[in-house]
Structures are given as C-alpha cells and as structure tokens.
C-alpha cells in the first residue's frame, strides 16, 4: 500500500530539477554548483562499452596482506551477513573499503592529535593510545587468529560462522584479554567501519552497486526531495551515487 507512489517518484532529472527548484531567479542562476550542472552534458556512449562486464579494478589491496584480508572479510560478513534481504558485507566489498581506508590518512590518524605525553585516561576522555588505526587493525587481526587458534586450532576464517561469532563476541565483551589494545575498542572500530563499507558512497570501494543503499531504501545522492518531503509513506527511488554528478 505504501509502495503505490513508486511510479511517480522517479529521481528528478537534472533539467527538471533546475526548472522546478527556483534556482533560476530572473535568469540569474544562483549557486555555483547548480550553475555548473547547467553546463553538464552527457558524453556519447562508446560502442560496446555497455555490454562488456567491467572488472572492478578497485578490488585490489592497498594495505592488508592476503591473510589479514581473509580475516577481515570473514568478520565483516558476520557483522553484516548476507540473508534474504540482500547481500552481506563481503559481497558489498566492505573489506576492500576497510583496506583502502587504512591505507590513507584515516589509517595514519593524520588529522588526529597524536602528540605525547601519553597517559591512560578516564573513559570519558576518549582514546589516549599512541597506536594508529592501521596498527590497531594489525594487532587485532593477529589476535583474532590467535584466539581462534586457542579455541579451535584454526584461523578465524577457517571457523564455522557460529564459531566466528563466538570469537567476535569475546572481543566485543573484552573476554579476550589483550595487553596492547582494547579488544572491545577494536571490535567497535571493526563494526563501525563495516557499516561504513556497507553504506558509504560506492566511490570508496564498498556498497557495491549501491546495494547497501537499495536494501535500506536510502536513495543516495539525490539533488532534491522537495517533491516528496510532504508525502505520506515511503517514496521508493532508485539510488544515485556521486558518480552520477558529472564533473568534467
């Protein structure tokens, strides 16, 4: 019943959008971004380009070793598993997303205050360690394998899904005692980055084919919702990504 609006809620075309949105005031275009959209033209399609299934060149490792990647990919999939609703974190490329994030400034804590002196603080004072995120992942992954080995004599990714959940729960609740990092803080970071990999714009390597957004009825990068903002019930829309913004 709520789906009845589906047909009329097609994403706004850029031309209609500009016509309808009041961006043009007496012939003067207000707002630089919208102005540049006016000049945007779709280039002609290359013959054959549409038919060849393109390899995803983004799916290569920038930071993790193959071993580390297998652990993270298996863990992400338990955090956000494939089910009847749709793909899980693995198919959505969340592990590639995490790999790529750790390779860049976020992995290096480039914009965080990392000067000493370092003291253990109260919980309300936030993270006070000297390790960078990529180092925390290195240790956390190693410890996941160590713990899996101590339980079952196997690597984390060789365990059954139920056994993997047991390991993850042990990290989540600090049942695993680590000396270098906080197991629960590592797990929280792993969970948060998994969700980022599931739901961030596909340009970062996760949310493959925007299927994370599709499952959640999030329409992605839409120019405007003026047409549905007052509407009752869910407006189903095909999502758009930032790639839909022509920037040439």
């Amino acid at each position: 019943m709520l789906e009845q609006h589906e047909k009329q809620d097609q994403p706004v075309s850029r031309r209609n959008f500009l016509k309808n949105s009041g961006l043009v005031l007496g012939g003067l275009v207000v707002g630089g971004v919208a102005g540049s959209l006016l000049r945007t033209q779709q280039g002609p399609q290359q013959p054959g380009a549409a038919t060849a299934p393109a390899a995803d060149f983004n799916q290569a490792l920038m930071y993790f070793t193959g071993e580390q990647f297998r652990v993270i990919e298996a863990a992400c999939e338990r955090i956000f598993p494939e089910d009847e609703l749709g793909p899980g974190a693995k198919a959505l490329g969340a592990a590639y997303f995490i790999d790529h994030q750790l390779a860049g400034e976020w992995g290096f804590n480039a914009r965080d205050y990392m000067q000493g002196p370092f003291y253990p603080g109260e919980a309300t004072q936030g993270y006070q360690g000297r390790l960078k995120r990529r180092e925390i992942f290195d240790i956390g992954i190693q410890e996941m394998n160590n713990y899996s080995n101590s339980l079952e004599g196997k690597k984390f990714y060789e365990l059954t899904p139920e056994q993997q959940d047991t390991v993850l729960k042990a990290f989540e609740t600090d049942e695993v005692k680590l000396t270098t990092i906080s197991a629960s803080a590592f797990f929280a970071m792993l969970r948060a980055t998994t969700l980022e990999g599931v739901y961030s714009d596909p340009l970062y390597g996760g949310n493959k084919n925007m299927d994370g957004w599709r499952m959640k009825s999030f329409p992605g990068n839409q120019m405007a919702y003026t047409q549905i903002i007052e509407q009752e019930g869910l407006a189903k829309m095909e999502p758009l990504s930032l790639r839909d913004h022509q920037h040439g």
Binding site: S21, G32, P81, Q115, Q125, G126, Q231
Partner: protein, 573 residues
C-alpha cells in the same frame, strides 16, 4: 623579528558569522577591515560532491585539523586533563565561514528570561533556588534591548518561520514563511496541540523560498536534500557567512580577507591593543598587523585562549571566583529524549533540512513552574527531520544485538520506521566549570592548548530526566509507536559521543567588570579597543541553538564598534 604591516582601522580574528557580520557592518560605514582567517577560502562551488556522508559527516572534511590544534578535557581539577585526540562531543569549524558553514540553521532567539535569569529566578523562587556553586548572572542587556538586533540577523539570513507563541515579542514577522511540513512534523503538531502545548515550526536558516535580503543578496530555496549539518550547502540556500555577509563586505572594497593566517597573539600595552601577531601558515612567517580596533570573532575556545595567551584581561580563578577570562564555560544538555518505533508506518527520513522541525517551548526557560522541581530552566523539545544518512542511523529497539543477522534486519526495518522527539536542554554555569591554558599539551606552534574543566551536575540530570518524560508523553500521543524508549539518564559528561557544538562562555558579558569580561557591546572592560564577539559572551547556555542569539550580539557589537570609532574612545557603557 615579525614583519610589520601598515596599520588598519580594524582587524578581525576569524571570519565566520561574527567576523563576517562585523566586517560587513563596518565596511559599509567606510572603515577598513582586515579579516585574518586561519583556514582556507570557501565557496559554494566547493560542495559539488557534498552528498558524501563518509567524507563530511564521519571524516570531518570541514572541521579543524586536530593534529595541529585540539583542546584538553578533565571532569574536575583533580583529574589530569588529556587531549581530545579525535572528534566526538563537538566539532570545531575552520576556514572561511567557520562553523557557520556546517551548522544546521536552527535559528532561535533566547527567551526574555535568559537575559535576566538571575533576577527573574530570584523574583519568582527566591535566592535559595540556586544550588551551591551555580554562577548564573544577568547578561547586562534585556531581550527588548536586543530585539532589533535579532531582527537584523534574521532579515539578513532570511530566516523562515512563524511566531513562537511562548517567545519574546517580535517587532516584525520572519522574512520568509515556514519550511514545508512532512508527516512526522504534522504528527508532532497534532499531538502537542491535543496536550494543550504550543507547537511552532522551527525557525530555519535553510530558506523556505527564494529570498533577497536587505543587503541585496539573493539566495535560492532549500531542496530538502538531507545533507546539512556537517556539510556545506551546494545551493547557498542555507544561510552561511560565505553567501551572505562576506560578499557584502568585499563589495565595499574595504575588506581584505587573508586566509591561512593564524592569529597567535593580541599585541597590547596593558591598556589597549595595538594589533595582532599572526603566522602565515603557508610560509611560517610571523606577521604583525597593527590596528586601531581588534575584534576577536573566532570560536568560543580561541576567543578565550587568545586573551589568556596574550595576558589580556584577568584570568578566572575557580578557587577564589575572581577574574573573568575563562569563566562560566557551559554546554548543552542533549540527553533526555524519546524514540518511537513504528511497525506499520514508514517515513522518508532521508529527506530533510537542517532546521526542518516542529518545536515547543512549554518546558523551556521559566515557561513552566519550577517551584517543586530541583532545577531551573529547561529545554526546547522538538521533532526534527534533518535528513538521516545510512551510516549514522542504525537504531534498533533495546534487546536487539548490535551486529549480526538480527541487527541487520532490525536496522534496515527501523531505518524508515523510527521517530524521535528530543530535548535540547539549557546548561547552567558553575564555579568549577571553566577554561584555562593547559600546562602540558601544545599546538603545532608550541602554544598551549585550551583546557576544559567541565562535568554535568545534578541540575543537568534533573533537567534531562524531566524533559525526557515530557518527550515520552509526546511520542506516545503521536500514536502507533509500538515500542517507546525514553532516555532519562544523563551520565557524566563524556567527550566521545557527539552531542552538540554549542559550547559557550569564557569571555562573558555583564553589567560589571567584577563579574564579566565584556559589556553589552561585547567591548572588553579591561581593554576598550578590544571587542570579543561570539557565544563566548553567553553567561549561561539556554535551551536553544546559540547562533540566533550570537548573531544578534554580533550586530550589537558592530554598532558598538562604530560608536567607539566615531567617539574616539572610552568605554561605551
């Protein structure tokens, strides 16, 4: 040896709302103004790729680089203050437009009660109403005196709204009509009306329709794209300094903006400022900019920090209660809200605007009787539809695990089936809540970081619990919520979860130099040619977003600076 530049009339430190308003008002009257901005230039075209939750909301694209400068925090003096190493509780803006770029645009006026809070509370409840250590004071200005400046800020920004039935008197209606009303807001309005409360549309700087302001600046209407807070507006629909006051100042030919210019000291002779010293961060060169008038218009923390680093004004001492710079740091009590989960209704939660909301003030200020309550003031209670993005919004009912199959199903299901009613609580100042220079941690130049000493008090906990119950009643009345969760409990202040970028105080205004740092023109009592503009002037924080009041005070300060400049000196009050 710093390079010394030719003297100018006025130097403005930080070019956000405060700096932009001061510059536009002063240059229109013929003064020459130099604006020193530590960050980079910004323009609307920068936001072409702005619909990127990861980059802007979670990696803080528009915020200050904490590797260069942060703050330190402790709950009380016996605890060692430690640096805020990554973002959490609040987000510090930087660059042209400052925090005025990444705000939501919720533009309230503080209540008449706020400006005379001490007198009015004593009048109604007696002095015993104040708990030990609460240092509230009157602002040295009344609502009626400030009203014309509220109006000027609202006309400039094009605020969209309707009259608040429980607010102060208005001389003029809002310049543009309220925003559109989505179903969730209608439900809130109907429920609160039924409860004999007084709902009104949240005053919005997002612009309900195309608008040309008194300065001749035209802006387009909001498109409800759902990317407002933490983002810049790609339409220029959200009022920010870059699309309103800064171009007006530039057009006069009297305003020179120097970006990448990090002011590190106010230069002075003990009585008056002679200029400022700044570092050009692109070359590392130290430069002296002499000026007749120095206006501090950076964020709360840097206004306070610059004064303390420059030995200007009397530093606050929490042990004696004497001194004023760093006094009355306050925040916002955000905990205290209710969530409703709906089984059979879905909402377009992804659509919205930063200031799209419906709100009541029945439990704000002294609009309700506090005789039998163990707190003063209250909260603005509202429902808002700011646009919920998918990484940051994964609410599940209590009892559902935080990950795995069940989490996935519930977080997807309830993404479009959850509404929340929230309370934005006032925060009263206490003698032991203050700002000073950290003795240990330094910024990238080797200057001391600002140190915050702050925690929530029993006043805050009582306020949060009371308002949470009111939120719960409203969401219940909004019907169909099969599961309702009320968050009554306010724990200790924690710097890690995001709460609000509504930090206030440190350079507070008042009617006496004994208890305040600036007068009601935001002119320093101890240095007559220094004006300190911002929410740093608030003696306490109200149950509202601060920008509307901060903007009004900026226009008031601009008028004071013009008066001071024409009269040739002296204190204005």
């Amino acid at each position: 040896m710093a390079k010394k530049l030719p003297k100018v009339d006025v130097v403005v430190v930080g070019v956000g709302w405060g700096g932009g308003i001061i510059a536009s008002e002063l240059t229109k009257q013929g003064l020459t103004v130099v604006g020193l901005e530590r960050g980079k230039e910004r323009k609307t075209e920068d936001y072409f790729m702005v619909h990127d939750e990861l980059r802007y909301a979670l990696r803080y694209e528009l915020m200050q680089d904490l590797s260069k400068e942060t703050i330190t925090f402790r709950s009380k003096p016996s605890v060692r203050a430690l640096p805020m190493r990554s973002y959490g509780s609040f987000l510090l803006g930087t660059g042209l437009g400052g925090s005025g770029v990444h705000w939501n645009g919720q533009t309230f006026r503080f209540l008449p009660y706020d400006f005379e809070i001490r007198s009015k509370t004593i009048e109604r409840y007696g002095e015993k109403k104040f708990p030990d250590g609460m240092t509230i004071q009157d602002w040295g200005i009344t609502y009626d005196e400030l009203e014309p400046y509220f109006d000027r800020f609202e006309q400039m920004a094009g605020i969209s709204g309707e009259e608040n039935p429980l607010g102060g008197k208005r001389s003029k209606p809002y310049p543009t009509p309220p925003m559109k009303m989505p179903p969730a807001l209608k439900m809130f309005a109907e429920a609160t009306k039924k409860m004999n409360l007084h709902p009104y549309m949240m005053p919005s700087a997002n612009l309900s329709e195309a608008y040309t302001n008194p300065d001749g600046v035209s802006r387009a209407a909001c498109q409800y794209c759902g990317f407002c807070e933490r983002f810049g507006c790609e339409y220029g629909a959200k009022a920010d300094p870059v699309v309103t006051v800064i171009p007006v100042a530039k057009k006069t030919g009297k305003f020179e903006i120097r970006t990448h210019s990090h002011v590190r000291r106010i230069l002075h002779d003990g009585k008056k400022a002679t200029g400022v010293m700044y570092t050009d961060v692109t070359t590392g060169e130290d430069i002296e900019q002499p000026a007749d008038i120095v206006v501090l218009t950076s964020y709360v923390f840097n206004n306070t920090r610059l004064l303390l680093m420059s030995n200007l004004g009397r530093p606050y001492d929490p042990n004696t209660g004497k001194g004023v710079i760093g006094k009355n740091y306050a925040y916002q009590v955000i905990r205290g809200g209710a969530i409703g989960f709906y089984e059979d209704r879905e909402f377009n939660v992804f659509a919205g605007a930063g200031a799209l909301g419906m709100t009541i003030d029945d439990y704000n200020g002294d609009n309700f009787d506090h005789s039998d309550l163990n707190f003063i003031h209250g909260a603005n209670i509202s429902i808002s539809q700011t646009g919920q993005r998918p990484i940051g919004n994964n609410k599940v009912p209590a009892g559902v695990p935080g990950w795995g199959k069940e989490f996935k199903a519930a977080s997807i299901k309830y993404y479009t089936r959850t509404l929340s009613v929230g309370a934005q609580g006032a925060c009263m100042p206490f003698r032991h809540h203050f700002l000073d220079l950290d003795p240990t941690y330094k910024d990238v130049f080797g200057d001391p970081l600002m140190r915050i000493t702050f925690d929530f008090e029993e006043q805050d906990r009582q306020l949060a619990a009371y308002c949470a119950d009111r939120c719960g009643e409203i969401i219940k009345e909004m019907g169909a919520a099969d599961k309702i969760e009320v968050n009554r409990k306010l724990g200790p202040y924690d710097i890690t979860p995001y709460q609000s970028t509504h930090n206030t105080g440190g350079v507070i205004m008042g009617s006496s130099p004994d208890t305040s740092a600036v007068n009601n023109y935001l002119q320093m009592w101890d240095a007559e040619n220094v004006f300190v503009v911002g929410a740093s002037a608030f003696p306490h924080n109200s149950g509202y977003n601060p920008t509307g009041t901060m903007g009004a005070l900026s226009y008031r300060a601009a008028e004071g600076i013009l008066k001071y400049s024409k009269s040739g000196g002296g204190l204005l009050v």
